[in-house]
Amino acid sequence: MERTERPRGLTRRQLLSRATAAGTAFVVGAGFVAAPNAVWAYETTHLDARAFATLVQMARDIYPHDRIPDENYVAAVKGYDTADAASAITAGLAALDAAAQGKGFGSYLDAGWERDRVDILRGMEESAFFQQIRGGLVTGLYNQKAVWPIFGYEGESFSKGGYIDRGFDDINWL
């Protein structure tokens, strides 16, 4: 993932004009996924851009944290955008879209409410594909140092001398 103000030479306006809505992410032409506000962009190498956008949405629906931006979900799943993984992931995402169609939606991304997408996911919860994505997110998402401050978690403290003088016992509401 590249974090860019102006992804790949496109102005923000150009980007938005070329984008087709895909969940919270936008597919910008072939192999290119970007945030609607253009704060992040990711160029896929092996997965189809729409498939990748579906995967990002699926990741967010499995572990939804409204204060975690898409770029961290992108970082959590971009490991599947490889020659080895792409075909199985594409097949899994096709099954996800088929499940969405079975519930009357054009595709997974077309289901606008989280509860509808979660309902689709519940139906395939036991599948190896779902479990692979969910299991991978446990470390792929939560082990990103960038998300820790969103939870208030401070990470290591050794380099700052521990908390002995920095509030290990500063609770004041008991």
Partner: protein, 523 residues
């Protein structure tokens, strides 16, 4: 001052593993002038090397060689290849451990007598008792610098403890304090005072916490009597026609098979690897494995009845700041069958960082019920439950002949199912833990299932009679006089307390016995 001993030197004591049991025994013997070769499967990491990051540290220190699981415990489903969370490194699991150091209560040495017959449980009294262990416990506490013993002060309470303490007091609990911890709490002592960094589970970067890696092992090496060979994975224990052990075969750091002769072999590989080695050492003379005439090798596996309770409050707690486990309620550790179970449990403060919390809070869960719990992380407090579980013959470690490790050796399968007594105790402990937090205003509580086992006990148990267990009162195998078990696998029963102080006390006592028997020429 390393002491390289010859592979053909058959006067040495070989110790397998350098954790709580093996590391302590190695130093104690070396101090008495006994020549020791300690073989350790893992590498050597010291405080400068420890990484205060949960998964990175896990990758550095944890034992991740393959293992398999069965039984109805949830670990077999959620972490099927990781039945235990233990360490492969010089220092063993004392690099990871939190430091809680409690003595057994008197009646816990005599569980069969105290509890009477419990259906489905293979209870047995230890052949030793509290009076006999008292001086050895004192030596262990002094060695490890346990707080609230000797004249050592308690640790200060952190935020997580303050919430825990307020809840405990609201429920009327009396025995509530910051624990008896093998963590330096004052400037009097060899180790640095605890700096409240958290990450006690990842190796203490200050060396404030006792770990054999930087206490016992270097102290033993300094005598010139101890050689620690790291990255030396023992594959087999060898014996002669007389049925005495003569040495061990091990894979060295380059994967070459070596043979070290020995006068005595002491096995301290923790409760999966120790029985595995006995079973993998089967021969035509001992077709069921070494020291297994009772058929008890690998059986009666205990992991303590555990679980956690986390709770979210409307205001911040920041439980990760400070010592990970310095907080305890002991009121429920008593023997009181009116609660609907025998044995007791301790409640201890506990905190995990976000990466481990995501993995362990409710393994497999997803969706908003789960993620809103993590969203409350900053306002979360946590405790761990540790209680006595029932030994059962069918809870056992066996060889899985279908799965081999990197050396081509069959791995262990760990079969475990809770006893009804374990379930009743856990239900009680969840209720009490939840009540504590609700008494101080928790808005949401999480009765969290057991993690992969950190306390692994009982698979070579101590017994008065040879037919009931694997080792005698000294940890000496009933069948082979010069083969000893020196780790937590010799536990007859588990008691409610965290096991390491008892493992260390037994190792100090065993060293005394071995040295005097050697001097008398008996072994």
């Amino acid at each position: 001052m390393a002491a390289p001993f010859d592979l053909n030197d058959d006067s040495v004591v070989v110790i397998i593993g350098t954790g709580a049991g093996g590391g302590t025994l190695a130093n104690e013997l070396a101090q008495k002038g006994v020549k020791v070769v300690a073989l350790e499967a893992g590498g050597r990491y010291l405080p400068d090397d420890y990484i205060n990051d949960e998964w990175e540290s896990f990758g550095q220190l944890a034992w991740v060689d393959p293992r398999t699981t069965s039984g109805d415990w949830r670990v077999a489903k959620d972490f099927s290849g990781l039945p235990a969370w233990i360490v492969k490194a010089v220092g063993g699991t004392t690099t990871h451990w939190a430091g809680a150091s409690l003595r057994f209560q008197e009646h816990e040495w005599k569980a069969a007598t105290t509890y009477g017959a419990v259906q489905g449980a293979n209870l047995l009294d230890w052949p030793i008792d509290a009076a006999e262990m008292d001086p050895w416990y004192t030596k262990a506490e002094d060695k490890m610098g346990v707080t609230r013993t000797g004249n050592r002060p308690g640790l200060p309470g952190n935020n997580n403890f303050k919430v825990f303490e307020a809840g405990a007091k609201a429920l009327g609990y009396k025995e509530v304090h910051t624990g008896r911890m093998a963590i330096q709490s004052s400037d009097e002592g060899d180790r640095v005072t605890c700096q409240q960094t958290g990450f006690c589970f990842q190796g203490c970067k200050w060396g404030a916490k006792w770990s054999t890696a930087y206490t016992e092992v270097p102290a033993g090496e300094a005598t010139g009597n101890l050689e620690v060979r790291e990255r030396a994975h023992v594959a087999r224990i060898l014996h002669n026609e007389a049925g005495k052990v003569t040495g061990v075969e091990y894979f060295d750091a380059d994967g070459h098979l070596q043979m070290q002769k020995a006068r005595i072999v002491c096995l301290a590989g923790n409760s999966f690897e120790s029985p595995r080695l006995l079973l993998n050492s089967a021969s035509s003379m001992f077709p069921d494995g070494l020291a297994n005439s009772s058929g008890q090798v690998g059986r009666n596996y205990m992991r303590h009845m555990t679980g956690s309770v986390y709770a979210v409050f409307d205001k911040p707690v920041r439980m990760w700041r400070g010592t990970t486990m310095a907080g305890i309620v002991q009121d429920e550790a008593r023997y009181d069958p009116s609660r609907g179970f025998v044995g007791g449990y301790e409640l201890e403060t506990l905190s995990l960082g976000i990466p481990f919390m995501a993995a362990f809070l409710d393994p497999g869960a997803w969706g908003r019920e789960f993620t809103t719990a993590l969203d409350g992380y900053e306002n979360m407090a946590g405790m761990w439950i540790v209680g006595e579980d029932m030994p059962q013959e069918t809870n056992r470690v066996t060889l899985n002949m279908d799965v081999k490790d990197q050396h081509g050796l069959p791995v262990v399968n760990v079969n475990f199912s809770d006893h009804p007594n374990d379930k009743a105790m856990r239900a009680h402990a969840y209720k009490q833990g939840i009540a504590m937090y609700e008494a101080v205003g928790a808005t949401r509580v999480f009765p969290t299932p057991p993690y992969p086992s950190t306390h692994n006990l009982g698979t070579n148990r101590m017994s008065e009679n040879a037919r009931d267990g694997v080792v005698n009162r000294w940890g000496q195998t009933h069948d082979i006089a010069n083969l000893f078990i020196s780790d937590g696998s010799q536990f007859t029963t588990g008691a409610a307390e965290n096991p390491t102080l008892t493992i260390v006390a037994l190792a100090i006592r065993q060293a005394d016995h071995i040295a005097s028997e050697m001097a008398k020429g008996n072994i």
